[in-house]
């Protein structure tokens, strides 16, 4: 069993009458690839933004080693790459990566490997604003991978990628996890999630409905009489969300 890196407890966020997050509690373990799976509008992005401190939560806490983390301590541990952004559109990918390494004191030694792994070499001098959706996604992911924090939250890292690129990015993410980086990925494509994640957190309408490996989730779903034993992740997802 891997040690817990972070405990998220009772995280709640409301927009008026809408409960975007309702007492979300989960654990993130060191070195794992944790998948956050849920239908559209389940609260995945809200959860990430609250954890990363770019959106205020109404309630809840994050603990590490038994101690509650304030905003600064959380920023020391968690890096977050949002979905659908095109940061510094007038600047080149080369500059954005150099800036990430310099501004954050990031992983300079991994820069070239990340560029190669994400197939960005030919695009380095291209302004970010001119990139396709998939190219932008890989650029933003490269920024996240070069940030120094030990835990990376990536919102929809496979969104906009074709099948080949998805497989390549999954391999890159697995390699980073194998090197000790903890990844928490919000994914709405079950196949992508199954390919890359060690464990899963299922979220629906702001509630965490289940947490565990595929086998653990299968047991939970079967115990509730929702799926037969040995059900696939897709069947479990449909049953539990």
């Amino acid at each position: 069993m891997l040690p817990d890196t972070l405990h998220v407890t009772d995280l709640t966020k409301t927009y008026g009458a809408l409960h975007a997050l309702d007492a979300v509690t989960l654990s993130i373990r060191t070195g794992e690839v944790l998948g956050l799976i849920g239908p559209n509008g389940a609260g995945k992005t809200t959860l990430f933004e609250c954890l990363a401190g770019v959106l205020p939560a109404d309630r809840g806490s994050v603990h590490a080693g038994g101690a509650a983390l304030d905003a600064k301590a959380r920023a020391d541990r968690l890096a977050y790459v949002p979905d659908g952004i095109a940061p510094w559109p007038a600047q080149t990918i080369r500059w954005a990566l150099d800036f990430t390494v310099g501004y954050f004191g990031g992983r300079a030694s991994e820069r070239d490997a990340v560029v190669r792994a994400l197939d960005l070499e030919a695009l380095l001098d291209q302004p970010i604003g001119t990139l396709s959706k998939g190219q932008r996604k890989r650029t933003v992911l490269a920024i996240g991978l070069l940030m120094p924090q030990p835990v990376l939250l990536a919102d929809e890292p496979f969104d906009g990628l074709d099948l080949r690129q998805s497989r390549e990015v999954a391999a890159v993410l697995r390699a980073h996890a194998a090197a000790g980086r903890t990844l928490f990925l919000s994914i709405h494509q079950i196949n992508d999630a199954a390919r890359v994640c060690d464990r899963f957190v299922l979220i629906d309408r702001g509630h965490v409905t289940a947490e565990g490996t595929v086998d653990e989730l299968a047991v939970q779903a079967a115990a509730r009489g929702l799926t037969p034993a040995g059900a696939s992740l897709e069947e479990i997802f449909l049953a539990l969300t």
């Binding site: 959106l55 600064k72 949002p82 940061p87 954050f104 940030m147």
Partner: protein, 446 residues
């Protein structure tokens, strides 16, 4: 800019803001337009100054009162007032909204050792540096004027530049705060221009009202600038504008902390606003000014000043003039303003029953101005400075001053044509600015 190779996060932020400014079409457009705007003002001013100096066969006496500050530099630098009001806000708003809209702000926030205060400071420094580059057009105008043989007074020029620098800083702060507190750049632009129009409206409404209305109006951007244009350096104006500028930047920093609840940000903003108001109020209370104008336009003549300074008794003035009476305006911006600067203890009170003075009741002594020094009182209706000064001096028991010419300002008339200015400001400047912008984008494709 510092080399970002091994620099701290702040250096990286500065370098990033600089690159973003260089990538900003809004800034290049502002820079390109600065030349023609300054040139238009400068060329017109030089021609008018030349005509008034006798170049068109005008009366010789007129030339004696001509100062380059009034005739050339105020209109020329007036272009920067237009730029600060109508162009600079968009450049500043883009600097903040660009990061918010592109999602870069969410990434920048994740550096735990960089606060939003630091981010705003980096933006402010770079935007101000951008203004300094644009101000080179003013430097060129001064150089041209000198090359024509025109006189310049360094204290006047420095003071005028300080006024425009404060105006630019204030504009940046307001625009940055507007961009940080609104969700869309268009809304921010409306807010920023709304604040400017609001200050104009307040200035207009407060005209002739006296008291706190007028005191507050004197710190509105255009009124503040007018003081510097008149060659008056007021410590209070510098302090008040600096306090409001810092307040605006602080509020921007508060609202860029998007991870904090809106309620907390509102509370912090209210506190920052209250602190800014207190600091501005305190700054406004600090006396101290310096008349740097070459022709002593904000001061009495040296003989008058010396005679008035010798009076130690408190001077009480009751002017029975309505707020909209032009005589009151003349006094308030002329003799009475100089009296306040010269004498230690002056109290001026206006009384009237109506706003305009046109329908004052009979028998109220409307138009009378009563001067009281100790237990002596005297009434005088004139608004002419020498008469007012002599009235006060005689009231003190000292002999009235005789007419003298020793303090009169000879002026710096100059008959010259703005040779080369049209080429420089209408052709060379915009072409150079647009070319620099083009090659900058070409070198670093954007």
């Amino acid at each position: 800019m510092p080399s970002p190779s091994a620099a701290a996060p702040f250096s990286w932020l500065l370098a990033k803001e600089w690159r973003e400014l260089m990538a900003s079409r809004a800034w290049w457009v502002m820079l390109a337009l600065t030349g023609p705007l300054v040139g238009l003002s400068f060329i017109g001013a030089v021609r008018s100054f030349s005509e008034m100096s006798g170049g068109a066969g005008g009366p010789a006496g007129l030339a004696e009162a001509l100062t380059p500050l009034d005739g050339v530099f105020i209109p020329t630098f007036g272009a920067f007032d237009l730029i600060a009001t109508f162009l600079l806000p968009f450049v500043a708003i883009r600097a903040v909204s660009g990061d918010i809209q592109s999602g870069a702000h969410k990434i920048l926030l994740q550096q735990p050792r960089v606060s939003t205060r630091t981010m705003v400071a980096a933006k402010g420094i770079v935007l101000f540096a951008g203004c300094l580059i644009a101000s080179l057009a003013g430097v060129l105008a001064c150089a041209l004027w000198t090359s024509y043989g025109g006189a310049t007074s360094l204290p006047e020029l420095v003071n005028l530049s300080l006024g425009h620098a404060l105006h630019a800083a204030l504009t940046i702060a307001i625009a940055v705060a507007a961009a940080a507190t609104t969700e869309h750049p268009a809304t921010a632009a409306i807010v920023a221009l709304g604040v400017t129009v609001g200050t104009w409206a307040y200035e207009f409404i407060s005209l002739g009202r006296g008291g706190w209305w007028e005191a507050l109006a004197s710190y509105m951007p255009t009124a503040m600038l007018r003081g510097f244009e008149h060659g008056l350096f007021r410590i209070s104006a510098v302090l008040v504008v600096s306090a409001i500028t810092l307040g605006g930047l602080t509020i921007a920093a508060i609202w860029l902390r998007i991870g904090q609840p809106a309620r907390r940000r509102v509370v912090l903003s209210v506190m920052a606003g209250a602190l800014t108001a207190a600091a501005a109020f305190g700054g406004a209370m600090i006396p101290g000014d310096l008349d740097v104008s070459e022709n002593r336009r904000n001061s009495f003549t040296e003989r008058e000043g010396a005679a008035l300074e010798a009076i130690s008794a408190p001077l009480r003035i009751n002017a029975r003039l309505a707020p909209e009476d032009p005589r009151r305006f003349d006094l308030e911006h002329g003799a009475f303003a100089k009296l306040r600067r010269t004498m230690k203890d002056v109290d001026i009170v206006y009384t009237s029953s109506t706003a305009t003075g046109l329908f004052e009741p009979q028998g109220t002594g409307y138009g009378e101005i009563w001067y009281a020094l100790g237990d002596k009182r005297v009434m005088e209706r004139s608004t002419a400075e020498p008469i007012i000064v002599n009235t006060i001096i005689e009231l003190s028991g000292a002999p009235a001053l005789a007419d003298g010419e020793e303090d009169s300002f000879a002026g710096h008339p100059l008959v010259a044509q703005p040779v080369g200015a049209a080429w420089l400001f209408y052709i060379i400047w915009p072409v150079a600015a647009l070319s620099a912008g083009f090659f900058n984008r070409k070198r670093r494709p954007i």
